[in-house]
């Protein structure tokens, strides 16, 4: 069981980073640290996906007219590489790209929210903000 964790070390590392990000987003009181945690979490998933798409010894799925001097087994320099067997799986890379777009927009939204929260409450501590809000509600 433990040896498997070392064989698939990419997955192990990415799940550990995911856990760190998840806990930071959930439990940290500082909003900026929460955003950092969220980015950790998403980056861990991209690492997982990228490691899943990679196949040892193959190249990125770009159709090359000339291979140049990459030393792929069975292919000489200067020949075209139309064969599927030479490429890594491109789908996870596409997923990572989409995921990055999503996470960037969420980061932007969360940061904008943090700016507005700081302007209103003069603090970035979530607990403090909530206690200030409750105090103001009870005063009314």
């Amino acid at each position: 069981m433990v040896s498997r964790l070392f064989t698939n070390y990419y997955e192990t590392v990415s799940i550990i980073i995911f856990g760190i990000g998840f806990v930071t987003l959930l439990l940290n009181r500082n909003i900026i640290k929460k955003i950092i945690g969220f980015n950790f979490m998403d980056t861990a998933i991209y690492l997982f996906l990228a490691s899943k798409g990679y196949i040892t010894g193959r190249i990125a799925p770009i159709l090359l007219e000339k291979l140049g001097d990459t030393n792929l087994a069975g292919y000489q320099a200067g020949t075209a590489v139309p064969n599927v067997q030479n490429y890594i799986n491109p789908v996870p890379s596409g997923l990572v790209l989409t995921g990055i777009v999503v996470s960037v927009s969420f980061t932007a939204f969360f940061l904008a929210l943090a700016v507005r929260l700081y302007r209103e409450y003069k603090t970035l501590d979530m607990h403090e903000i909530i206690s200030i809000m409750n105090r103001e509600e009870n005063k009314e």
Binding site: I31, M41, K52, T98, F106, L113, L117, E120, M133, E136
Partner: protein
């Protein structure tokens, strides 16, 4: 590539022989385009475009529903002309078309009923963005309903979350910022879990289209490989979507987000946004894993227990609440519990009752939130019960609509809520191991519902003896509000009286769903 093309040529589900079959795709693209144009328009123009888009969307989904009823089978529409395991596709059957039609109607009516409050609560220079967000929210909802691709579903889940947070935040006040921050945080946790679930599922099956994943999963189960990752994935999906749809232990963000926002936002959030994720979960159960795999895993028991906890504890929290909108929000937690209990019963009837509850709740809760907004007008915007004494007498239309909604939620015969509880009870009797607990929970939850809705009605209809002056005089001739609530009331009665027809529709839909 060649062999897949032959498969598709032999599968009649891929045949497009009617113009109606293009309508789901057209409605998604049209809403996206209107969303983009909304950003460029002024507030009035954006509103018109938003309503135009919703009207066209309603007509298109209704035509799709009629077509699906006529054919009685599902069809698959290729997005981008790449065949099955590679391309993206949408899949339309009776259930999807029914949900899309009713969601469009609810969206339109909620916006119509809360329009006055939108103009009051949202800053004038930001109103066009409100309609932009609503249009995009609508797009993501129907895309979530129709899509047959898991990663596309993830992208639309994220668009849904982002726009939902934005419509909470667009009400100009300090409290909504905090509510949005909590909502956003919990939603991000949920989507993180959902995304890692998709990644691992892609890892072990190698597909992203739901039908292909199902083949892979059934294959893995038959050969007994990857049993632990598979259970993990099911749990990740269930918890991720549970957080997003405010299942009981993860509901903490809901009362704030739904209670603080403007009434149209609360209506759409609790009526539709929560349901979009649940429909995705039902899709996962039927189309991605297969009912047998989900039934063999223990996750249904967890959902069942959480559902029952939500039904009781959500109601108890609502009883203690002194704030009208927050009370309705806690009632949403309880009603979501009914849906999860139906799913958790693990039989076909439970699923039918869950789908029916999605419809009933979608047609009832927006009405309650919109009327709550109208009551707040009579008390200078206060949401507290002590200020709302006699509010229903000052605005009788809202009073009638609130009473109908409350009766439906309690489960009085003739109203939609009763049919749901009746069907849930029948479904519970078909599952002997869970029958006693489920029936007990139904009884307790019904009593609790009555305990907070009846006093609320009594306070609202009480004669107000105090001589407090009303600053904001309620606009009794708000035509949009009256029409929208009228249609909501009619829909409630239709769902309650003609329920057998809708149940038949849902059963037909679920047959071709997997």
């Amino acid at each position: 590539m060649l062999e897949y093309t032959t498969i598709i040529n032999n599968d009649y589900h891929y045949v497009i022989n009617s113009i109606v079959q293009n309508f789901p795709c057209i409605s998604i693209i049209l809403s996206f385009l209107s969303g983009i144009f909304c950003a460029a328009l002024k507030s009035k123009g954006a509103k018109k475009l938003c309503f135009f888009n919703l009207t066209v969307g309603f007509a298109l989904s209704l035509a799709t529903l009629i077509y699906c009823l006529k054919v009685g089978d599902y069809y698959i529409y290729m997005m981008g002309h790449f065949p099955a395991p590679f391309g993206n596709e949408i899949r339309v059957g009776v259930l999807e078309a029914l949900m899309a039609t009713s969601f469009t109607l609810v969206m339109m009516l909620s916006l119509m009923g809360g329009l006055k409050h939108i103009y009051h609560d949202v800053l004038p220079d930001k109103q066009e963005y409100y309609f932009l967000m609503m249009t995009l929210l609508y797009t993501s909802l129907i895309a979530l309903i129709y899509t047959n691709d898991l990663f596309t579903a993830y992208v639309f889940v994220e668009i849904n979350t982002l726009t939902a947070c934005a419509i909470v935040m667009l009400k100009h006040s300090k409290e909504t910022l905090v509510a949005t921050a909590r909502y956003l945080m919990m939603s991000l946790l949920g989507s993180g879990l959902f995304l890692i679930g998709i990644s691992i599922l892609y890892d072990i099956t190698g597909h992203l289209l739901m039908s292909n994943i199902k083949e892979g999963v059934q294959n893995l189960v038959a050969t007994g490989r990857y049993t632990f990752p598979l259970e993990m994935i099911i749990c990740l999906f269930a918890i991720g979507l549970g957080i997003k749809s405010a299942l009981y232990p993860f509901h903490s963000w809901l009362p704030d987000a739904h209670g603080q926002s403007t009434s149209a936002s609360s209506a759409v959030l609790s009526g539709l946004v929560l349901k979009g994720y649940i429909i995705l979960l039902i899709k996962l159960v039927y189309r991605v894993f297969g009912f047998n795999v989900i039934n063999n895993s223990k996750v249904l028991n967890i959902l069942f227990v959480f559902g029952i906890l939500a039904m009781t504890i959500g109601s108890i929290k609502a009883i203690n609440e002194r704030d009208l909108k927050k009370m309705i929000a806690y009632s949403s937690v309880a009603q979501i519990g009914y849906i999860y209990m139906g799913i958790g019963l693990g039989n076909e009837l439970g699923m039918v009752a869950a789908c029916l509850q999605i419809l009933v709740h979608a047609f009832t809760k927006p009405m309650l939130f919109n009327t709550a907004g109208a009551f707040m007008d009579t008390a200078n915007g206060s949401r507290k019960f002590k200020d709302l004494k006699g509010a229903a007498r000052k605005n009788m239309y809202a009073g009638i609509a609130f009473a109908v909604g409350a009766f439906s939620m309690i489960g009085i015969p003739l109203f939609g809520g009763f049919v749901v509880k009746y069907n849930l009870a029948i479904a519970a009797l078909n599952n002997p191991s869970k029958a006693v607990i489920a029936l007990l929970a139904l009884i307790i939850s019904t009593v609790l519902n009555a305990i907070y809705y009846v006093p609320a009605l009594m306070v609202l209809f009480k004669k107000d003896d105090s001589t407090k002056k009303i600053v904001v005089i309620p606009d009794k001739k708000d035509l949009g509000f009256i029409i929208s609530n009228g249609i909501f009331i009619i829909c409630n009665f239709i769902l309650g009286i003609m329920s057998s027809y809708f149940i038949k529709l849902i059963i037909d839909g679920l047959k071709v769903f997997s």
